[in-house]
Subunit: 441 residues, 4 copies
Amino acid sequence: MMKQGLKVATIGGGSSYTPELVDGFIKRYHEFPLKELWLVDIEAGREKQEIVGNLAKRMAAKAGLPIDIHMTLDRRAALEGADFITTQFRVGLLEARIKDERLPLKYNVIGQETNGPGGLFKGLRTIPVILDIIKDAEELCPDAWMINFTNPSGMVTEAVFRYTNWKKFIGLCNVPIGIERSVAEMFGVEPSRVRIDFAGLNHMVFGLKVYIDGRDRTDEAVKKTARPDSEFSMKNVFFVPWVPEFIEALGVLPCPYHRYYYKTAEMLAHALEEAAEKGTRAEVVKKIETDLFEKYKDPGLDVKPPELDKRGGAHYSDAACNLISSIYNDKKDIQYVNTLNRGAIPFLPNDVAVEVSAVITRSGAFPVSVGDLPVACQGLVYSIKSFERVAAEAAVTGDYKKALLAMVINPLVPGDKAAKELLDEMLQAHKEHLPQFFKHT
Amino acid sequence: MMKQGLKVATIGGGSSYTPELVDGFIKRYHEFPLKELWLVDIEAGREKQEIVGNLAKRMAAKAGLPIDIHMTLDRRAALEGADFITTQFRVGLLEARIKDERLPLKYNVIGQETNGPGGLFKGLRTIPVILDIIKDAEELCPDAWMINFTNPSGMVTEAVFRYTNWKKFIGLCNVPIGIERSVAEMFGVEPSRVRIDFAGLNHMVFGLKVYIDGRDRTDEAVKKTARPDSEFSMKNVFFVPWVPEFIEALGVLPCPYHRYYYKTAEMLAHALEEAAEKGTRAEVVKKIETDLFEKYKDPGLDVKPPELDKRGGAHYSDAACNLISSIYNDKKDIQYVNTLNRGAIPFLPNDVAVEVSAVITRSGAFPVSVGDLPVACQGLVYSIKSFERVAAEAAVTGDYKKALLAMVINPLVPGDKAAKELLDEMLQAHKEHLPQFFKHT
Amino acid sequence: MMKQGLKVATIGGGSSYTPELVDGFIKRYHEFPLKELWLVDIEAGREKQEIVGNLAKRMAAKAGLPIDIHMTLDRRAALEGADFITTQFRVGLLEARIKDERLPLKYNVIGQETNGPGGLFKGLRTIPVILDIIKDAEELCPDAWMINFTNPSGMVTEAVFRYTNWKKFIGLCNVPIGIERSVAEMFGVEPSRVRIDFAGLNHMVFGLKVYIDGRDRTDEAVKKTARPDSEFSMKNVFFVPWVPEFIEALGVLPCPYHRYYYKTAEMLAHALEEAAEKGTRAEVVKKIETDLFEKYKDPGLDVKPPELDKRGGAHYSDAACNLISSIYNDKKDIQYVNTLNRGAIPFLPNDVAVEVSAVITRSGAFPVSVGDLPVACQGLVYSIKSFERVAAEAAVTGDYKKALLAMVINPLVPGDKAAKELLDEMLQAHKEHLPQFFKHT
Amino acid sequence: MMKQGLKVATIGGGSSYTPELVDGFIKRYHEFPLKELWLVDIEAGREKQEIVGNLAKRMAAKAGLPIDIHMTLDRRAALEGADFITTQFRVGLLEARIKDERLPLKYNVIGQETNGPGGLFKGLRTIPVILDIIKDAEELCPDAWMINFTNPSGMVTEAVFRYTNWKKFIGLCNVPIGIERSVAEMFGVEPSRVRIDFAGLNHMVFGLKVYIDGRDRTDEAVKKTARPDSEFSMKNVFFVPWVPEFIEALGVLPCPYHRYYYKTAEMLAHALEEAAEKGTRAEVVKKIETDLFEKYKDPGLDVKPPELDKRGGAHYSDAACNLISSIYNDKKDIQYVNTLNRGAIPFLPNDVAVEVSAVITRSGAFPVSVGDLPVACQGLVYSIKSFERVAAEAAVTGDYKKALLAMVINPLVPGDKAAKELLDEMLQAHKEHLPQFFKHT
C-alpha cells in the first residue's frame, strides 16, 4: 500500500481550475486520502494562487476534511516526497495565449492553441519547463506519478517519452470524456453506461466504436453526430454543424477540434470575426477568469462556484481525480489518456504518444487494442503526429530550422513563406519565454 | 439487455468437466441467470452424457435453482436461440489422444497434444467440426458468443478468425489462470490481488509482468519461479525444475508447457518412461475419468465431487464462467484469452490469434497492449505461430503437403524424414476422423 | 526469350505525346525490336490519331525501320497478343482537365490535376477505364506488361493493385527523372552519373539521397535546391522559390508538385491569376497541342518536333521506353516507378502503391529499400495516400459518400462545406464520364 | 573518384583462402587497380602468413601486375589509409573450431559452427575482435569499407550494426552464390543467366524466386531441388536428400545449412559417425589445410592451386572481389549480402541484419524488396534471429546469463540442462579467447 497521508503537488496552483481539482479530491476523499495539497506557482501568479489557495482551504474546511493546503513559490519544496504531481500551468499566462491566437490571424491562419501554430508556440514554451520539473522529480520524488493537463498535452507527452527517462507520466485531456457525455445525452442515458473506443492523438482523437451498456451503437451515434442540429461541441471550440454525409462517410465520431481541420475555412472566418468583435477565445477566457477570481475572493464562498463550468475545462476535475484515484487504488478501469502507443493503434509507430482508451493500474496506463483507424482518418492523424514530433524536437533543441519545419508542415499553415514570417514574428513576441531559441543574444 | 432466461449450449456435454461448469453456473446464478443448459454429444458419448446430465440435474436441484438441464444428440436443437455456446468436445475421444501421445514416441518425439505433433492431429480432427458448428450457429443463433475450451485452442482460434466470418469467438485456456494462482501461492496472497501481463500463444504464453496489488513484483516472481524447489507446474505437465539462471536470464514467467520446448530432452525421457510404465497422460486420464463417471453415477452425489480437481482442468470452470459472466454483464475486467492480436503484441502480425490479457466486454475481448516479448522469447513464439497457421490451413484444406509442412516445422520434430513417417502413420491411425484427407478413397 | 516481333498497344494513341514514344522506340530498336505499334483511340480522338499515326509512320520510314504503325478504334484488336500495353489517354480530353482546374478555383481551391480535387475527378473518370482495359487484357494478352502514364498515376496504380488481380502493371511518372536531370545540371554532370534514392508517392516523391558517381552529395543538392535562384521546377508546375531554411530543414529533395502543399497560398494566388489572364495550364496546353497538331500534319515532318518539349511531358519518352526495354531485356537497372511498397518505405503499409527507386527486371519492378522518409515528410505523404485510397474506392464503387470523403480529406480543400459544394458541381460537370455515379438516373 | 592506388587490408592474411582472394584481385585488376594488399595476422599465424604471402607475391609477379604484397603483424599499419578491409580470421584457429564441433557432440547436439552452439562460441570469440578492428578503423581509415567473410557472418553483422556506429560494413557469404550456381547447373545454363530473390539470414537464407533470363522458373527449381537424386549441397554440409513433398510444400529453395534444422536427426547421426571415424569437418579441413600449405610452399607455384576448391569456401573469391569491385565502380548490380533489413523482409524488424538480394553501390548495399517469406519459413528464421541477437549481446557484454539464454533458445539444443552443461564446458575450453567472460578471475 502507498502511504496513507498522500501528498499532491500541483504546478500552476494559481490556475482558475484549481477549485475543480479540490472539489474532485474532496468528493473522492473516501478512496483517496489526500493529506497535503501543495499549490505551486511563480511570482507572477502569486496573487491568484493566494486567492485560489484560500478558497481551497475554505472548501476543505466546509467539507470537514483534514486536507492541508500549502501555497508556495518553491517548486522543490512542493515536489519533495510527493505521491502525485499535476501540471496545469501556462507559461506566459493568458497574455501568451492571446498572442498565440492573434498573431496567426494576421496571416489568415487559425492560431489553434494545441495542434496549430499557437500550439507549436505553447509547446516551445512549455516543454522545457516540463522537462525541468521532471529533472527535479527524479531527485525529489522518484516514485511520484505525473499527471499532465497542460496543453499541448499530446506534444508534451511525446516530448517526455522521447527525451526523458521518466515513465510515470500520463497526459490527460477532457475531450474524450466530453464526447462520452455528449453521447450519453444523445442517447438519454447516464454517462456511466457509455463506453467509447477512442484512438488518435490529443485534440485529434476519434471515437471508433460507441457502446451503450456494452452494445455496439456506433452507427446511431454517428448519425446523431452528423445531424446538422446536433450541438456536439465543447466550450472551447466554436460550433458549426458538420456536413452530414461527410460524418456518415467517416463512420466514426470526430472530436470538436477536428473542426479546425475538416472545416478550416469556416473556423478561420469565425476566428477572424470573433477577434474583431468580442475578442479571441483567450481574451474571453481572461474576462471570465477575472470574474471568477472576483468570485473566488468572496470569503463566504466555500464550494466550487458553478460559473467555473463556463470556463471550458469541464470534466477536468473528474478526469484528473478519477485517473489519480484509479492509479492509487489499482482500479483497472478504462480511461482515455495520452500515453505510448505500443501497438494499440497499429498504423502508428509503437513508440509515439497517442490518445487512447487505456486500462488504468497502479503501474500505469495500458492501451487497449481497439483496432485501427479508418483509412480516411489516418492521413490527418499522421500529419499531426509528424508535426508534434518535429515541434517537440524544436522545443528541446531550440533549433530554428526545426521550428520552421514544424510550422510549415502544420496542416493549418498555407506554405513556407507565411510560415517563416509568422514564425519570426511569434518568436520575437514570445522571446522572453523561449530562452532556448535566443541562447546567443 | 439480453433476454432474462439465458440459454447455454455445451458441445461435448458428456465431458467429465461438465460438473465443474455446472458448479460455476450455480455459483454465478445471481449475476448470470441461466435458464437452459443444453448438453449435446454424439452417439458414442450418449451414456456419459446421461450420467453427467443427471448429476447436473441433481446439482441444480440441490442448489434450488430453476436451471433446466437438457441432454440431446441433436446439435441444431441445442444451438437454436442459444446465448452462449461452449465447446469442450474431443473428436475420437480419449482413444484418439492416446494415439496422439503414443505414436510420436515411437519416433522419439513428444506427442504434446496442443503444440506438438499430437496437437497437429487434434487440430486436424477438431477444426472442421468447429467450423461446422459455426455454420450452424450462423443460421440458428447468430447473436451467440462461442467460448472454446477445446484444444488446441490457439490453432482453433486461428482457424476461426482466418477461415470464417464469425467474430463472436473467444478461445479459453486455464494455463494463465493457473499461473496466476501459483504466483498468488508463492507470494502468500489471494489470487484476486495478483495481476499478470500475459502475452504469447496458447500453451506458449509468457507472464511479462507480475503485479501484486498493482505493484510490479516481476523480479521476485521470476526468482521464485527459477528456484529448483519451485513446484510451479500443472497437473497435465510433468514437473522438472528449471535451470535457475535460464529463467532469470529470460526475465519473464514461462508457462508449464514451455518445458516441452526448453527442456525437450528431459520431457521426452519422462514421456517414454511414463508410457512404458504407468501409461501416457491420456491413459491416466482415462482411468481417472472411469473412476469419475463411477462417482457421477451415485444418485446421492449432488455437488461437484472433489476428485474432479485431479483431472487437470482445474480452474476451467472459473475461467469459463467468469468469461461468460463478464461478457453478459459487460464487466470490462481483465481476463486471459485467445483472440486476435490487433497490435497488442507488436512483433506478431495484427491478424493472428494470440493469448493475451484482454478487457472483457459485452462486445468482446479487447487485448491490452502490455508491450513486446523479450527478444529471446520471440523466436519460439513465432515458430509455434508458423506451425499453428500451417496446421490450420492443413485442417481446412485437407492438403497432405500442408500437413507435412506443419509436422516438419514443429520444433519437437527432428526433421522431414521422421515427420513424414510419423505423419503417414498418424493419418492412417486417425483416418476415421479425418475425412478431409481421404476424400477420394 | 520473348518472341522477336514485339507488339505494343498504346491506348490513347492520338495523344500529342505519341511522337516522343515513337522516337523512343526508334532510338532503342537495336535492343527492343518493335514490330507492331497499335495506336488505339476513341471516336472523339480519331482525327488526332490519324495525324499522329501518319507522323509516326513517316518517322519509322525515315529511320528505315520495319515498324508497322496501326491506327484503330478497336481496342480489343490492339490488345490481342500484345507484349506491352501503354496507356496515355485522357477521359474527356483536355476539356475535362479545364474543368478540373477551373471549377475548384471558384471555391478558392487549387485544382491540381493529380493529387488535388482535379486529380480526384481525373481518377474517378480514369480508373474504371483502366480496370476495363485490364479485363480485356486478361483475356487477350495475359502475358503483357501494362505501363501506365495516365494520371493520376499513383491513384491508378493503387486501384489496380487493390481491385484487380493483374500484377504485371507499372505506373510511370517523369517527375523523378526530371529531378535527376535538374540535379545533373546543378552539379554540371551527365544525368547518367546521378542516382537518387526516391521514395514517396506519385507527384509526392522525395529524393532522400543524391549520389554523383555513387558518392553521397545530398547536402549539397539540398542546399542548391534551397537557393532562391534555383529554378528547380517543371513545365507543368509554376515556379516559386522555396524558403531556403525550410528546404534545408527538410534535408531531402522535394518534387516540384510539393509546392502545392508547401506553398499553397502562393500557388493558389498564381492559379487564380493565371486563370484570369492567360488561362489555366490545361488551356495553355490546349493551345500548345493545337499548334503541335498543326506541326504534326506537315507531311515534311518525319522526326519528333522540338516544340514537343514545351508540352510538359519531357522525358516521358525516355522514361517509358527505358522501362519497357529494361523489362524486355531483364536489365536489372534502377528506375523510378509506381509499384507496391512491400516494405521498401517502412512507415507506409506493405500493400499500398508507392513511387520508389526499383530494380527493373523481366519479372517486374522490385523496390529498393532506401530507408524511411524523414518524420517531417511522413504526415503529408500519409495524407495523400489516405486520399488516394479513398478516391480509388470511390472510383471503383461509385459511392457518393466515399467521393465526398476523399474530397474533404484532400489537404488542398478547406473543409467539408466547400468540399460538398465543389464535389456536387464537379459531378454534374463531368456527369457524362462518371457513369458509376449516375447509375440510377 | 577514389584514389588510383588502392589499398586493401586483409585481417587473417595467413588464411588458406588468401590465394583465392589474390586470384580474384588479379582477374579484376582492369577494373579494380589494387596497389597494396596488406596481409595481417597474429604471431600464431606468422608462418602461414609467410607462406601464403610469398605465394601471393609469386601470383602477382606471374600476372605481371604491380601489386605490392605486405605481410605484417601490425594491424594498425595495415589499416592506415586502407580503402577496403576484408576479414577472414579465425580466433583460436582450427583448434577452436574442432572444439566447437566436438564438445556439443558429447551432449548429442550438433555443433554447427555458425547458427548452432559452435556458432555461438565462434561469435563470442570473434565479435569483440571485429569491434576492436572497427575502433581502429574509425581512427585510421574512416572511409574504408569493411567486407566481412568471418563467420558467423550474420551474428557479426548484427553486432556491428547494433553495437557500433560503423555503417560501411557488409557481411558476405558464399551460400547464395553457391545455390545460384547449383541452379544454373540444374537448368544447364550459365550462372550469369540465373537470378534468385534471396531473403533470410546468414546460413538460413531462402531462394524465394528463381529466374532464368528474368523469367520465373521457381516451381521447376523447387521440384528439381526436391528430387532425392538432387545433389544440391555444399562442401561444408553433409548431403542427405530432402523428403520431396516437404520441399514442394515449402515452395521455395532452402539452403544447404537448413538441413541442420529440417533434418536434425540425420545430420546429428552423421556428425556423430563422422566424428568417430574420419574426424569432424574441422579436422578434415585441418588436414586439407596442411596439405594446401605444403602446396603453397612450392616456389614453383604461382597460381591459385586447384586443390583449394575442395576447401569448402568455393566462390568466396568471386563473391568478395565482385562485391569490392561493385562498390568501387558503383556498379549497381544485385548481389547477396548481409546488411540491415530496412523493411525488405517485412515480417522481420527493420533494424536487424538479414541476408538478402541487394543493389551494390559505392554508397553501400541497398536491400531489394523481394516480398515476404512463406509463413512456414518465418518461425525458424525468427528463432535464429532471436538467437543471433541474444548471442551478439552476450559477446559484447560477457554476460554469462545471456550466453546461457542464447544456448537454450538455439533450435539445436534440447533444453536448459544440456545447454548449461555444454555452455560451462565450452566456456572453460575456450577460456583463453573469451576474456570478456573471465574478467574477474
